[in-house]
């Protein structure tokens, strides 16, 4: 999850609250995820511990500062690294400390190593978390069961998240994914014969709330066109369905891991092709 919101427009004479809730405010997402964390922790104690989450955040920030300074030649805005760190701190579940630091480090470093045409193509925390699920499965699990399981916190987070994502002009991404997920859940239920409620159950949990509001909407690792964004998350939901039919517990993360970079590469290829055609026509 790496929300460095890049749509910036000069806003004049607007009320302070409007400026605050404008898409150009790159601190809106960090604020939202911090609120989610605080509400979850104060009401239900969702974290493995404060110290582990702080470790993930601190590692993420320090890595971003150092790597950006060395490899980009500038001090970065750390909003996106903060979101990466806090996401790792929430989504990684381990009694050990080292997975939090390592996952944050892998997430941030991936932005500087796995680049194509000077763009990083994996969502950093998605990459880091999938790496931990695959490589450290004996020590690490994902957030899959905590957040209270009750309806009111869920409604608050969905409402708040939707409002902010709407302001950030990315609501269509989350909405497309949710609708696709529900449709595929119906299809899975028909295929497996399992209760439909059991198929939609995961999306009512906290893991999906973070996935839907912070991970699939990351501007840096999603394609540019609105249609492309919707198609991409539809394909994510489709791949997730296939993975779920093969009983992959962390199917959404794996699906985004596979589809996200593929969509980015496809967009780059299409951009290059379009540019070549323009040059040829010229």
């Amino acid at each position: 999850m790496s929300h460095g919101v890049s749509i910036g427009q000069p806003v004049k004479l607007e009320a302070a609250w409007k400026r605050f809730f404008s898409p150009s405010n790159r601190y809106l997402s960090p604020l939202l995820i911090s609120c989610v964390l605080l509400v979850g922790q104060l009401s239900y104690g969702i974290l493995e511990s404060y110290t582990r989450t702080l470790l993930a955040i601190a590692t993420s920030l320090v890595a971003e500062l150092i790597l950006s300074r060395i490899y980009m030649g500038k001090w970065p805005n750390v909003a996106s690294a903060y979101i990466t760190g806090i996401s790792v701190g929430i989504l990684v579940r381990s009694p050990a400390f080292w997975p939090y630091a390592l996952c944050a480090l892998i997430s941030i470093t991936s932005k500087y190593v796995l680049r194509v045409h000077d763009r990083h193509i994996w969502n950093p925390s998605n990459f880091g978390i999938v790496a931990m699920f695959v490589l450290a499965s004996g020590t690490v699990a994902g957030l899959s069961i905590q957040w209270g399981n009750f309806v009111w916190p869920m409604i608050v987070i969905w409402t708040l998240g939707s409002a902010i994502i709407w302001r950030l002009r990315r609501f269509h991404i989350s909405a497309t994914y949710v609708v696709s997920f529900l449709a595929f859940a119906l299809l899975r239920s028909w295929i497996t014969g399992d209760p439909w409620w059991s198929e939609i159950s995961p999306i009512t949990g906290p893991m999906y709330q973070l996935f839907i509001f912070f991970m699939i909407t990351d501007p840096k690792t999603t394609v540019r066109s609105k249609t492309g964004q919707c198609v991409t998350v539809f394909v994510v939901a489709a791949v997730e369905m296939v993975l779920r039919l093969h009983q992959a517990v962390y199917a959404p993360f794996y699906a985004l891991f596979l589809v996200g970079p593929a969509a980015m590469l496809l967009e780059m290829w299409m951009d290059a092709r379009r540019a070549r055609l323009l040059v040829a026509h010229a």
């Binding site: 490899y71 980009m72 390592l102 470093t109 490589l135 399981n149 309806v151 399992d194 949990g205």
Partner: protein, 595 residues
Amino acid sequence: MKASLTARVVLAILFVGMLATPLAIRQVSARQEEAQAKLDEGQAIARYGFHLQEVSQPAGVNFVHQAPTLDAKLEGIMPEVASMGASVSIVDFDRDGWPDLYVTNSAIGSQNHLYRNMHDGTFQDVAAQMGLADVNQAGTGVSMGAVWGDYDNDGYEDLFLIKWGKPELFHNDHGRGFTRVSEAAGLPPWINANSAVWFDYDGDGLLDLFVGGYYSEKLDLWHLHTTRMMPESFEYAKNGGRKFLFHNLGNGRFEEVSEKAGIKSNRWALAASAADLRGTGYPDLFIANDYGVSELFLNEGGHFREAGEATGVGFAPKSGMNVAYGDILNQGKYAIYVSNISQEGVLIQGNNLWVPQEGSSLKYENLARDMGVELGGWSFGAQFGDLNNDGFLDLYLTNGYISLSRSKSYWYDFSRVAGGNSKIIADAADWPAFDGRSLSGYQQKKVWINDGAGKFVDVAQAVGATDIYDGRSVALADLWNRGVLDVVVANQRGPLLIYKNTVNPQNGWVEFSLQGSRSNRSAIGAQVTLYWNGQQQIQHVSGGSGFAAQNDRRLHFGLGKNPQIEKAVIRWPSGKVQTVDNLVPGKLYNVREAE
């Protein structure tokens, strides 16, 4: 990217190193596990100081537990909802000086067994003869566990039978038989419980009884009106059974006083045990809850105050299934072991070893990871005991939830429903059917030996604890009066296992059999602090510990090599402190509370 090619190559190499780190850690762990190869008896004793041999068949015990079959509405997830009931408790019911075994069964119509110790290495089932066999009749529910305590101070241990159903109290008629006194005692008609503890919470010399409900007591699990009977949350559920505290009135009757005494909770209790954690003279009560945080009820002169969060043990919600106390560092303080669930790649809760921190207020720190007792699979019953008599308490843990298909797992379905909203998780109809799949089945057990310096090492395979049944209940006792702790394990849908212990004879031991006078006759709650070779260890007589288990009331201390015992200081539940001097190793001391 403005950095040079060299800088980018360096970063790429570092990145690969980061990705390889978990693999390297895993490799090191795998090598450590490989070192735990099976050893023969001589090698195991030479290396670890003891060896366990499973002897149930030659001992004449061929008990196999039968699981309950609940309402047909739960058919699809029957392996999960009916996954408990195997239990073992140890008692010398006939006061012949030899520990006997009581084992519960859980199918309607099945028989519980009371194995009398025949003093020759064998046991004989006398449950039917004693009136304790046919206790799982239709309409009365089935057995989940048993705890023993002399509630009327007549010198013979009475039996409280924990059930999903009608709780039963049996009076021990001087070891010659048992009389059912449940109604006369004033017990309620129905509790769906898995935990109970005898303890004298108010210090009046009479044993009281705590019973922790699991499923709501409003449910008759064989005649359900609704499928909405599952926990409302995997980690925050408060729709379980209520708690009962039965105050012993001394005339054969009990009064339910839980709310008056400050114990009010509808969490899903799976295990409970009492110990005086602060030296107040009043036993505190620790409850390990499934689907939520643990609760620690501190006893303030007969009134309880819940202090789970304040003491640190009730903050992170897990799936508590065990409570065992042990002075693991020989400091005169109890650590508390709570078992939870760990399944590679899905759910790593980790077991908790709550160690008291230094300081005036009671605060605990979870040192399970640091001390090496964190990961035990789907853990259930565990008990502390000095298995190799080296002077430090070791830890025996059994585990394994549902062993059905070896190739198909229910974990995926379990995780997606468990992570869902309360409306979904709470309804059994929303849970996919098991269809013969396993859920953390066929797991290897853990026998962690304590090096005395803050580390435990698993030697289960090396010393002979090699079964992979779905373990539930563990109890320890010196079954044949040899000065060693043997291990008895009750398995769900599996055999009762008796691991006979052979210990390096160079290690000394001493045992205490306590009898209260002003205190309750069972001496439950009495603490013995033994001082020897410049060290000390505290143990207490427990009215139930582990998971659905009770160890022998006799206290066993391993002493290591060349022991010189200084003294034993006994603090009785009455508050009286008694010092026993001139103790020699290799003896069982019968100590009666001084009048």
